[in-house]
């Protein structure tokens, strides 16, 4: 088993764990953290597949995808944190359960 296979598998595991957390956890903050774990998993998988057997030069395309993904993840996380903060100011709670209206 090559190291890149190991990294790839761990990436998939982190992604699955993060998606599970983002859907199963009850609080917005925890869901955001879980989403970031899932995102890290995807990035790790992408970095692992950039490895090309027999050459020391990695494939640049997955790297470009990871860079774009990081930019998106940072801005989305910042935005959702601001929204959660605003929601706490407005309703005094950031839990997803307290204001579920259906």
């Amino acid at each position: 088993m090559e190291p890149s296979d190991l990294y790839g598998s761990v990436g998939i595991a982190l992604f699955a764990l993060g998606i599970y957390g983002a859907t199963a956890l009850g609080q917005f903050m925890r869901q955001v953290l879980a989403l970031n774990v899932a995102g890290t998993g995807v990035f790790m998988f992408l970095i692992a597949i950039a490895h090309r057997a027999g050459t020391p030069v990695p494939d640049p395309v997955p790297h470009a995808m990871v860079l774009t993904g990081i930019v998106v993840a940072v801005s989305a996380t910042a935005f959702i944190l601001v929204l959660i903060g605003r929601l706490r100011d407005l309703s005094g709670s950031s839990s997803a359960q307290d204001d579920r209206d259906d």
Binding site: L35, A38, F79, I80, L83
Partner: protein, 500 residues
């Protein structure tokens, strides 16, 4: 017809102009509505030019900045993209007109403190994201466009600044991000297995293998979440209900369709040889369930905006029936044509319905269906628009909704899956029930009319125009179906290869 390698300049401009307009409006901060309207007219004109070019010269392809794939970005436009681009431009233009009245400075500002100014830049970002998504020719660009679309949609939902809107926005953003990550993981699987991201290249490489099944499942799950396919629809009604009316109109009419459009591209061109009949049944059955569940919830809705939002859940269900109907019957364009027709007919009708709901809310300060007595007396134009939109939502002739459902019904009856035909008919009956619930209240004459604030005329007329467009669509079906098939190479690859 051959593809031109240089590509039409409109392709780049139709994405660049709204992006630049958004930045310009953010910087200038004054006369935002005027700038927004000028930009909207320019973008719609560019989209019109591009559609004309597709109709005349066939599909267009363009490498941005002269960089070719895999490191460059390629844009591609065929009949399918042209149809989506045109629908987007039409709806977006009237959303802009409506928005200029809704966010006008003479309107009660209490609800939108200083945020009205942010409508225009965010709206331009949304439009740019839609156009970029429609013209993307590779799966990773689609991811970027989806994220831009999600972020701008959520930001627009929060414009009203009330707690329910912000809460709905957080849930919407979470779902949207989970969906995008799932899609991105699918993209990574595709690149790991196939070594390319372009639609055209993937379509010729992909075969039924484990990685392509995994990629299709991950990408489709993400896109279904974003399209609010039952049972992943829970985020849509609160978000569309609590957003300002022009935003609800744009979200329901265009944003949920954008991810459906990507699904269509993936299933019928990129993964054409990978999809199986069993796999196609999954979105189809969920779609059928959505038609019933969404319509029943619309029937029990208390408020007009809520009713219109649940109706979107039901109508999205019809769209997803195209997957089993199209895959089971690969030689026929009927199902795909029907779904594309529904995309546009529903977009016009739903945008009009949300605009009317917004007018009622603005004029009376509430939109409780039980208390809508006498609305027809005071807002005849709006309620006429709602009636016309309702005819298209139900699918009565001669509306665009009728043509769309007729095509889907025909496709369902051609194959063995006649169960879908039963759902299409049942959905139409349920839609009749929830549309008439509104009219049974609003047509009741009353002598003591409640508090009524006059609303700008353009808010009523833009709703009416869009609802009439959904009716007009029913009269031009043959030309339109012909145009949609321009540049079919990206659609039905397997079929083309099997043919002569």
């Amino acid at each position: 017809m051959i593809e031109r390698a240089i590509g039409a300049p409109e392709m780049a401009l139709v994405v660049a102009v709204p992006l630049l307009a958004a930045c310009a409006i953010l910087l200038v901060r004054r006369r935002t509505a005027v700038l927004g309207m000028v930009a909207s007219l320019a973008i719609a004109a560019l989209a019109g030019c591009l559609i004309w070019r597709i109709a005349q010269e066939g599909p267009q392809r363009m490498n941005l900045g002269g960089w070719s794939a895999p490191l460059g970005i390629t844009l591609y436009a065929d009949g399918l993209s042209g149809w989506m681009l045109g629908t987007t431009a039409l709806i977006a233009l009237f959303v802009s007109v409506y928005g200029s009245g809704y966010f006008h400075r003479n309107q009660p500002a209490t609800q939108f403190g200083g945020t009205a100014n942010f409508f225009w830049p965010l709206w331009m970002f949304l439009w740019a994201a839609l156009n970029a998504l429609i013209l993307s020719a590779d799966v990773f660009n689609i991811y970027v466009a989806l994220e831009l679309l999600g972020l701008s949609s959520v930001a627009l939902v929060t414009l009203s600044q009330a707690a329910p809107a912000v809460s709905a926005a957080v849930r919407y953003l979470l779902v949207s991000l989970i969906g995008s990550l799932s899609y991105l993981m699918g993209t990574a699987f595709l690149y790991a297995g196939a070594g390319t991201l372009g639609f055209k290249e993937l379509a010729s490489i992909l075969h039924p293998e484990s990685f392509s099944f995994a990629a299709l499942a991950l990408m489709s799950t993400g896109l279904c979440m974003k399209s609010a396919l039952f049972p992943l629809h829970f985020w849509l009604p609160p978000a569309h209900e609590n957003a300002p009316a022009p935003v609800s109109a744009a979200l329901s009419a265009l944003v949920v369709k954008a991810s459906f459009f990507v699904m269509l591209r993936l299933w019928f061109s990129v993964f054409d040889r990978v999809v199986t009949e069993e796999a196609a049944m999954v979105p189809g059955i969920l779609g059928a369930a959505a038609v019933i569940a969404g319509s029943v919830q619309a029937l029990s809705a208390q408020r007009l905006k809520q009713l219109v939002a649940y109706s979107t859940v039901a109508q999205v269900g019809y769209l997803f029936m195209v997957f089993p109907l199209g895959v089971l019957n690969p030689s026929s364009w009927t199902a795909v044509g029907g779904a594309l027709y529904l995309v546009s007919a529903h977009a016009c009708a739903k945008a009009a319905a949300f605009m009317v709901a917004g007018n009622v809310l603005r004029a009376y300060g509430h939109d409780r269906i039980e208390d809508l007595r006498g609305v027809v007396q005071q807002m005849p134009v709006s309620m006429f628009a709602f009636a016309v939109a309702g005819v298209s939502l139900i699918g009565l002739p001669p509306s665009g909704g009728f043509i769309a459902k007729w095509l889907l019904l025909t496709a369902a009856l051609e194959g063995p899956e006649w169960g879908f035909a039963a759902v299409i008919v049942a959905g139409g009956l349920l839609a009749t029930a929830y549309i008439f619930r509104v009219f049974s209240r609003s047509f009741r004459n009353v002598t003591d009319l409640g508090d009524f604030k006059k609303i700008p005329a353009r808010m009523e007329w833009s709703a009416l125009t869009l609802s009439l467009c959904s009716m007009l669509l029913g009269l031009t079906a043959t030309h339109v179906l012909e145009f949609m098939q321009a540049g079919t190479p990206l659609i039905r690859v397997a079929m083309m290869e099997a043919g002569p």
